[in-house]
């Protein structure tokens, strides 16, 4: 042992010269390195640098005085100069003996785990060989036998490690729950997590574990489900914030976060009544149009009689929760923490109180209860804030309410099949702890329940979800849907019989749900709490099912199985004129803990289930931006884009260099991340140059914004259309009008839809370009023309790289290389085929001016042609429209990052 120690010490005291090391590090990349490490893991360390050691051994001239002198010496001196004059035999023999020992050890130990099988060609290997050595050819049998024995030995050695419990023990209910609770400490699980994890690829996003895509191929069928039947999604990861207080004060506070320009706000009469859900874009307090935060849905609780106290739910994406909460605290002046998460959790624990006795001592202190809601957050996190002067309280209801979304024209049929409105209990004998018997005693409550039930039954007569007014809300109390679970999965079919209540159905589609029918006990925290914890266990339900006389019949409803729910209509495609109401559906809001009880019955009605990927596609087909992918002005959107850039670069680097696209040659400056700020600045400068009023002393330009003002969008939408469909009521586009708009909205981006005129399938970050006059004439001549070509660009960076390479080679020989300046000028992290960071002008880099970049592009199944959603510069669009003739307004060119072919596309601004 000490021999090894000595040699190793030698190594440490005399580190080998640099160049060879660099060579090793340079040649071995990624996978190769890993393979080598795996191979060498059993080898003694000093033989690792075999080649160099071998060489010195060959020479047989290890000098003690200077240690191990190897490699090419600087100054070009030969080896012979350093030959020692004498060798001490004992030292020399010791050193060699150590090496021999090391080598012997290396030979005797197997390199890697299965060297015996490596000796066999692949087509002769069989899986069973590792168990039965007799399946091997006899020449290898002995070695394999030894290997097997050794592996058994190591298992014995392993037993000193803490033993892994048997599968049976691990799968025991309590232990399993503990394990699950441990696993969701970092990334929260939805209630349907286990169902999803068996069928979906899961993604860890926004501190949740979320389903991304099914493992089966379901894209087309999911699309068809959205188009003709229903698609189900679990959206429980959306965060709900509750505001309580007087209506006037809440509205006064919230008006600072929104702007009327972007559409109806919190105070719109329609939403204030509580009968409709609204959606809105939030900004930082008083900063519109800057400081954009992100989109939110909101829902008011219907007014209770004789009180001005209101309740408001704001549903937001988890990526923007922290910012919205802090802004809300600011505008409502709620800084006083009323309660923290720890208190809530402890209350739950005492209430549940079903700690099972188990034999493992180590686990007794951690109760193995099923986690409900957001129990994994750190204890002491504030969840409720209040203020003395405004009397508004903000509570964080994250994961308190389960939200399922059904998308598709038959969503309401699936709901009417699944949910059975609760019937009133006539024989309420003793006052029980359950909410429904007490609730149903009140006559007004029962009358309301009757009306809600009637409205719900009317839904059966409606043919498509899109017929119902956008954003309707219906409160309901239903029986446990597990009671009427069908025996096998079937598909809900539309009702072919015309309903009897034709008149009332018509009224429903015309005016929506009456305001007071939107009331539900789900708004009540105490009811929610009670319902969550009095759920009948599945075991009990199965027992009832086994005792039922007719198998598959509906079970009698016990008193605890009444659940208050809210049904919220989702409007689908509201903007634009094509495919109206496409993708409309219903959201189902449930108290927490009831997720799986509703999920399985819904799935049994033949719906498809989609994940995050399908949400993205859904908003793409609707033509809407998806949060956080398409919000470059929001903090969450910026973060997403930088993550996406890193991911795309990583993916790009994984290809072999000769197979990568050379984006420089394709004239594509930003294949991974779009420089919006630079684009907007350059367009503004260009417009100023055109006007001839270029001011020299410019202040620091503000950040770009996204144009969301409906008034401006409406005007631009009209101007983008070719002239024949333009209405006379709108002001025509003149340079003066354009200049006025330019001044106000010059530095902003616009969300547009691009429809390809003939061929082409746009990809992510495809460039939207301004067509030249000759391009437009080409299109006039031939309507199906495939479009102009971009001339191939020159890759000057490649030459720079070559210079650098040469310089590094030359610097090995002589330090005073003339190329050092050139190589130092290169930025670090240069990737071949991608422009280095200080980008040149993005606007005029190609032969056509760049307007913007595509955020989402694909062949659209809905329209049957290529369709892209893009952000373009508003001033660029105005400039383009002014240049174009009346009948060719809104024609632009589209070019993919990895192609030189431009394609014609028509701009459509949906409002």
């Amino acid at each position: 042992m000490n021999k090894f120690g000595k040699i190793r010490r030698d190594f440490i005291s005399h580190p080998p010269p640099e160049p060879e090391f660099r060579f090793i590090a340079f040649t071995m990349t990624g996978a190769k390195d890993r393979m080598r490490q795996k191979k060498m893991k059993n080898q003694p360390r000093n033989v690792t640098y075999g080649s160099t050691v071998g060489r010195s051994v060959e020479r047989g001239q290890g000098s003690q005085a200077s240690g191990w002198v190897r490699g090419h010496q600087a100054g070009g001196q030969g080896y012979s100069r350093h030959l020692p004059k004498y060798i001490t035999a004992s030292h020399f023999a010791n050193a060699r003996a150590a090496e021999v020992n090391g080598m012997l050890k290396a030979v005797s130990k197997p390199a890697g785990s299965c060297h015996v099988f490596n000796a066999l060609p692949k087509h002769m290997r069989r899986r069973a060989m590792s168990h039965n050595t007799k399946r091997l050819p006899s020449r290898l049998r002995e070695g394999a036998h030894k290997l097997m024995e050794r592996s058994q030995q190591t298992e014995k050695e392993k037993k000193q490690l803490p033993k892994r419990r048997s599968r049976r023990a691990r799968r025991r209910h309590g232990n399993l729950l503990l394990e699950f609770n441990r696993r969701q400490r970092k990334n929260k699980w939805l209630e349907t997590h286990i169902w999803h994890a068996k069928r979906f690829h899961m993604l860890k996003r926004w501190s949740y574990s979320l389903p991304h895509k099914p493992t089966a191929k379901t894209f087309r069928s999911s699309y068809r489900a959205m188009n003709t039947h229903a698609l189900l999604q679990d959206l429980s990861y959306f965060c709900c914030l509750e505001l309580q207080g007087s209506e006037e004060l809440i509205l006064r506070a919230l008006v600072r976060l929104t702007s009327k320009d972007t559409g109806p706000t919190f105070g719109a009469e329609l939403f204030l009544s509580g009968s409709r859900q609204g959606s809105i874009h939030l900004y930082r307090a008083d900063q519109f149009p800057h400081g954009s935060l992100g989109p939110a849905d909101f829902l008011w609780r219907p007014r209770a009689p004789h009180t001005s106290h209101r309740q408001l739910w704001i549903w937001i994406h988890p990526a923007l929760k922290a910012e919205v909460v802090s802004e809300l605290q600011l505008v409502c002046q709620c800084f006083e923490v009323l309660s923290t998460s720890e208190e809530i959790c402890s209350v739950e624990e005492t209430l549940v109180g079903q700690k099972r006795k188990r034999d493992d001592e180590d686990c007794i202190n951690a109760p193995s209860k099923k986690l409900l809601g957001d129990c994994t957050r750190a204890a002491g996190t504030p969840v409720r804030w209040g203020s003395a002067d405004t009397a508004i309280t903000i509570s964080d209801l994250t994961m308190e309410i389960v939200r399922y979304r059904l998308i598709g024209p038959l969503a309401h049929m699936v709901l009417t099949d699944t949910l059975q409105p609760a019937n009133e209990d006539k024989e309420t004998v003793e006052p029980s702890g359950f909410w429904w018997p007490n609730h149903s005693k009140d006559q007004t409550n029962m009358r309301l329940h009757q009306q809600q039930t009637d409205t719900f039954q009317l839904l059966r007569g409606v043919c498509s979800t899109g017929e119902i007014p956008a954003g309707c809300v219906l409160g309901l109390t239903v029986d446990d849907p597990r009671l009427s679970l069908p025996q096998r999965r079937s598909k809900t079919v539309p009702d072919l019989q015309p309903s009897a209540d034709e008149c009332r159905v018509r009224d429903l589609t015309l005016r929506g749900v009456v305001a007071h029918c939107s009331e539900s006990a789900l708004w009540d925290a105490s009811v929610r709490h009670g319902v969550t914890h009095n759920q009948m266990p599945q075991q009990e339900l199965n027992r009832m099912r086994s005792e039922a006389l007719v198998p598959g019949s509906r079970l009698a409803a016990p008193p605890q199985s009444r659940v208050p729910v809210l049904l919220v209509h989702q409007p689908g495609r509201v903007r634009g004129e094509e495919r109206r109401h496409w993708g409309s559906g219903w959201d189902l809001l449930l108290p927490k803990g009831w997720g799986m009880a509703f999920w399985i019955p819904l799935v049994y009605r033949g719906v498809r289930v989609g994940g995050l990927h399908m949400s993205v596609k859904h908003s793409q087909f609707k033509g809407q931006p998806h949060f956080p992918h398409d919000y470059p002005d929001c903090p969450a959107g910026t973060l997403f884009q930088s993550e996406q850039e890193a991911e795309l670069i990583e993916k790009f680097k994984r290809r072999p260099p000769s197979k990568r696209t050379n984006y420089i040659k394709h004239g594509c400056l930003a294949p991974f991340c779009c420089p919006w700020q630079q684009l907007t600045e350059e367009w503004e400068e260009l417009m100023k140059l055109n006007e001839g009023t270029s001011s020299i002393c410019r202040t620091r330009p503000p950040e770009y914004t996204v144009l969301r003002s409906l008034r401006v969008l409406r005007q631009l939408s009209v101007w983008c259309r070719p002239s024949r469909s333009r209405r006379a009521t709108h002001p025509p586009l003149t340079p003066e009008v354009a200049a006025a708009l330019q001044g106000e909205w010059g530095r902003s981006l616009m969300w547009v839809r691009l429809r390809l005129l003939s061929k082409g399938q746009p990809a992510l970050h495809a460039m939207v370009c301004v067509p030249t006059v000759s391009d437009l004439q080409l299109l006039l001549k031939d309507g199906r023309s495939s479009g102009p070509l971009e001339p191939l660009h020159k890759d000057h960076v490649k030459n720079m790289l070559k210079c650098k390479h040469k310089a590094s080679h030359a610097s090995k020989g002589s330090i005073s290389a003339p190329h050092t300046n050139a190589s130092e000028a290169l930025p670090i992290g240069l990737i071949r085929g991608v422009w280095p960071q200080p980008l040149p002008s993005v606007l005029s880099h190609c032969s056509r001016l760049t307007l913007g970049w595509v955020q989402k592009g694909d062949f659209s199944l809905a329209t049957g042609c290529g369709e892209a959603l893009a952000y373009i510069s508003a001033s660029g669009l105005l400039h383009t429209l002014l240049q174009q003739p009346q009948e060719q307004r809104g024609i632009v060119l589209l070019r993919n990052p990895s192609s030189l072919q431009y394609r014609y596309a028509q701009i459509v601004v949906d409002i």
């Binding site: 899109g466 017929e467 109206r580």
Partner: protein, 147 residues
């Protein structure tokens, strides 16, 4: 599905209940204050042999679809709404001609109620959003082999 392609005519009597007019008694709407959003026509229950004619799909494709359905069914029903009435009739007649008189037609007409939403531009001031109904003609042609 047929699109309601006819422009909104001012002569259609408005439903007096659903329009609380913003400015006194006048029923005329300023186009700058409201955005007109037409809802899709009410979807009818659809059997396998129902064909809804629209103006977006290629004429030939729709004709071929009907022809194909006639191979499987003894009768099909062709529906057309508004602008698509002409095309529905055209398709039915084409089918009859190509069958050399083996097919018979029986046409019915009806009126379909369509719903328009009027979204106020400034939603906080105007009260309720307006909804109005208007009527449009529709045709239902039964194309069948006489037994």
């Amino acid at each position: 599905m047929a699109e309601p392609c006819s422009p909104v005519s001012a002569t259609v009597p408005h439903n007096p209940i659903s329009i609380p007019t913003p400015e006194g008694s006048t029923l005329e709407m300023d186009p700058m204050e409201y955005t007109l959003r037409k809802r899709l026509p009410r979807k009818l229950p659809k059997r396998r042999n129902d064909v809804y004619i629209n103006m977006k799909t290629d004429f030939k494709a729709q004709l071929a679809r009907c022809q194909k359905l006639l191979d499987a069914h003894r009768e099909i029903c062709i529906h057309g709404l508004g602008l698509a009435i002409n095309r529905a009739i055209n398709i039915a007649l084409q089918l009859q001609t190509s069958s050399q008189g083996a097919l018979q037609l029986s046409a019915n007409t009806s009126t379909v109620e369509l719903i328009d939403d009027l979204d106020p531009e400034d939603p906080d001031e105007a009260g309720e959003p307006l909804t109005r109904t208007r009527n449009n003609s529709a045709i239902h042609i039964k194309v069948f082999y006489p037994s």
